[in-house]
């Protein structure tokens, strides 16, 4: 296994170096870096040309200039890690450090959500093949797959951001909207949940009433102004999560797992008030992360001690429950500062941002900054998700369908395993193998999409770095961009190989 990884890594590094060489040469030949000076009519034209030539080593042939750049990366120019300077004589290393953060946040968040949503939706459509739900999702994913991202981005800006901000000024949901949404939710759930007509009718009724009830509550309690979940909401959700996660992960028949999940959910409910009223005021970003890790670890421990003979699945279930319940509580805490955020002088009641990656000059706690971060990420993330969600659903659906037709699934059914065990244990794991490859492969595509998305939303991220560099035929910023994106692509391919080996023991042998 170790030799396999090392061999892959070395091969990847060589491929990456070759790719950077190709990219450097192509960028350098994309135009004339002195064009603006030559066509300009500055009195000291020749001196300016001379100065830029010296600054960017333009007198060295491109094929050799690459090695100056490569030397800079390995610190051979004596400045440590050095990516050169731009046409305007700014050090690229500094620019990259500023740009990389916002883009990586965007890409990571968008990919994570798209993968999780895409796989869940893909799996459910495969299990309900040729239902109305399946046809609906198939059509939607084809539609999303055909959408130009910049077009979606402009539409989102217009309708989601500006429209929603207008809506927030006087948040009223009309009664017929509530009825329509409730019936729609009922129909969707009714076609997802299997069973006889009677059971479908019950599902429909429950989903319709629940959605209608929640929407009515939102309407009556002025929820959009003061959004909250509250202790009752958190308690119901936490217990629901405990049951739901256990049902999928180990099955409700495993009493230990159910008990452990409920204990974790109970602890979450108990610490709700101390957290909201006291602990959350003393958190900064890193203690928040630490707290999240601790939550998962403690939940895992609870599962481990209550697990009985076969501890691992129980501990895993408890850890997932702990993570989700913690997330709900944190969400409620974020919502608590929403009102302050939306009404603050910098936001002026229009919270969904259309431009930039953060509100300049905003002051406040971790929670206020968190909300600011969310509202800025919302639109670009939705745009990126729409595009990549489509391919993930199609892939997971195809992959699960293929697995479900295998002989070993027949065997599993024939020996009387429950449907849950067949789907989760036997089919889902095998269906994940091809999905892992696609995800790794798709990262490059998402970053490419991010270049366009960033431009529409006016982020000064890596897309801007790339475009400015390319417009001036300046390889240094372009290469800095490629160093990160290409490096990510290589890294994710490597991770995919490892995941592969984790999922498929046959690969570990060779």
């Amino acid at each position: 296994m170790a030799t396999f990884v090392v061999r892959r890594l070395i091969a990847s590094i060589f491929i990456f170096i070759a790719a950077t060489y190709l990219m450097y040469v192509l960028t350098a030949f994309a135009g004339d870096p002195l064009e603006d000076l030559r066509t300009g009519n500055a009195p000291n034209k020749l001196e300016l040309i001379e100065a830029r030539t010296r600054l960017l080593n333009l007198d060295v042939p491109v094929f050799l200039r690459y090695f100056i750049w490569l030397g800079g990366i390995f610190g051979l120019t004596g400045k440590g890690f050095d990516l050169g300077v731009t046409v305007q004589n700014q050090p690229v290393t500094v620019l990259l450090a500023q740009a990389a953060g916002s883009t990586l946040q965007l890409v990571t968040l968008a990919s994570l959500i798209a993968i999780i949503l895409g796989v869940i939706v893909g799996i459910t459509t495969a299990l309900r093949q040729y239902s109305g739900y399946d046809y609906g999702v198939t059509f939607l994913s084809f539609l999303f797959f055909s959408l130009p991202i910049f077009w979606v981005a402009v539409l989102l800006k217009q309708y989601l951001a500006i429209g929603f901000n207008d809506f927030l000024r006087d948040p009223r949901i009309e009664w017929w909207v509530i009825v329509a949404l409730a019936i729609l939710a009922g129909l969707i759930w009714g076609s997802i949940i299997p069973g006889s007509l009677r059971r479908k009718a019950i599902t429909f009724a429950i989903a319709t009433l629940a959605t209608g009830g929640v929407l009515t509550y939102i309407e009556l309690s002025d929820w959009f102004k003061y959004p909250h979940i509250g202790l009752p909401g958190v308690a119901v959700t936490a217990i629901g999560i405990a049951f739901g996660v256990t049902a999928i992960s180990t099955g409700l028949r495993r009493k230990q797992a159910l008990r452990a999940s409920l204990v974790v959910a109970g602890i979450g409910i108990v610490i709700y008030f101390p957290f909201m009223a006291w602990l959350s005021f003393y958190l900064d970003f890193w203690t928040f992360i630490l707290l999240a890790v601790a939550t998962v670890a403690i939940s895992f421990g609870i599962g481990w001690f209550m697990g009985g003979d076969d501890r691992m699945p129980v501990a895993r279930t408890a850890a997932i429950v702990g993570f989700l319940v913690g997330g709900i509580i944190a969400l409620d805490r974020f919502m608590q500062v929403w009102d302050d955020y939306a009404a603050s002088g910098r936001i002026k009641g229009r919270p969904i941002a259309t431009i930039g990656s953060q509100t300049p000059g905003l002051e406040g706690s971790l929670w206020v900054h968190g909300i600011d971060f969310f509202t800025h990420l919302l639109l670009p993330t939705v745009a990126l998700i729409l595009i990549s969600f489509a391919s993930y659903t199609r892939y997971s659906r195809a992959s699960l369908l293929e697995v479900m037709n295998q002989d070993y699934i027949r065997t599993a059914r024939a020996k009387g395993l429950t449907e849950r065990t067949v789907v989760v244990r036997h089919a889902f794991r095998n269906a994940l193998i091809p999905i892992a490859t696609i995800v790794a492969f798709d990262i490059g595509g998402i970053i490419g999409g991010a270049v366009i998305t960033e431009r529409v939303f006016g982020w000064t991220g890596m897309g801007a770095l790339f475009q400015n560099g390319l417009d001036h035929v300046d390889p240094n910023p372009v290469m800095a961009f490629f160093l990160v994106t290409g490096g990510l692509a290589i890294l994710f391919n490597l991770i995919a190989d490892l995941v592969y080996a984790g999922l498929d023991p046959r690969i570990r042998v060779s």
Binding site: A30, P148, D407, R410
Partner: protein, 361 residues
Amino acid sequence: MSSIPPPVEQPGHHEPGVTENENAIELKEVAGLSQGQIVRRRFFRHRGALVAMFALAFIILLAFTSVGPQFGNWKPGGWWQYTWNVAVDIENGGRPTLSLFPFSIGNHPFGQDEVGRDIFAVVMRGTQQSLMIMVITGLIATFIGTVVGAIAGYYRGWTDSVLMRFTDIIITIPVIVIGAVLGRRFGIQGAQVLAIILGLVLWTGLARLVRGEFLSLREREFVDAARVAGARDRRIIFRHILPNAIGVIIVNSTLLMASAILIETGLSFLGYGVQAPDTSLGKIISENQAAFATRPWLFWWPGVFIIAIALSINFIGDGLRDAFDPRQRRMPTDRALRRAKLGKIDPNLMDASPAKKRDDS
């Protein structure tokens, strides 16, 4: 802007988990038909693909007859009263005159831009350019991908290593990035050149798939038979193996075209694609995105055409995949299993034919 086409399986693969009974029925349905006939039959049963095919044909006809094609100095003109690069007087504040109730087209069905160009004509010209780029790019990428994949998969050894490492190098660079860099240099030379450039960078995924297909097909008996009969490598590759891999190639080249049109519009949007005075669907959107609040029709129509084209091609690709490869067949549902348990129908006969799966919906 994903660089990956939707999933594709290899055709001609024996279905695991299919009983003799199911196979017998499947065979009966296709008895006496050639491969082409079988594929055609299955394709025409895919309603979405059929509709998409007519939609695409309609768009192509509309785009090329209305304002007429233009290659260099040859411009035959079309039946539409305005041309795409000439401004006329602004009527009705530039708003679209198209109305459905009562149906009338009016002088400027899609409206006019701020200088008075007829947007219908502009969008038609953009559609022409985008379609042409799509076809040229698709053909070039399919050709290169097939040849590279075929040679790598057939010869294996160091040929394979060299070609596949080269593919890896290209694949490391996101398509939109390498497209932008090349478009910056060559985009000014016209849409055809841009199309060729895109074809030169989009072939990598197909090459990998074709290589995999060749690796497995070259071990089959019919290849041995051909070799024993004295066929040369070239004949084996192009006459014996390639026809068996045609399903993968056709399906993927359709999907390649769908992504080509999205990449072209994306590049034109960024300013590295088709350059003025010519136009393309992406360029129209890019030029007019600031005017969205005041003249939204400048923005809606090109977008609608991009989506219509890409959606049609994706549906056609899906239909072709179903036609070439019936592997994503129907699983028995819970209800069907329960009915089978009660002895109402023989479970072996259930959904035996993949081709029928869309008829019962």
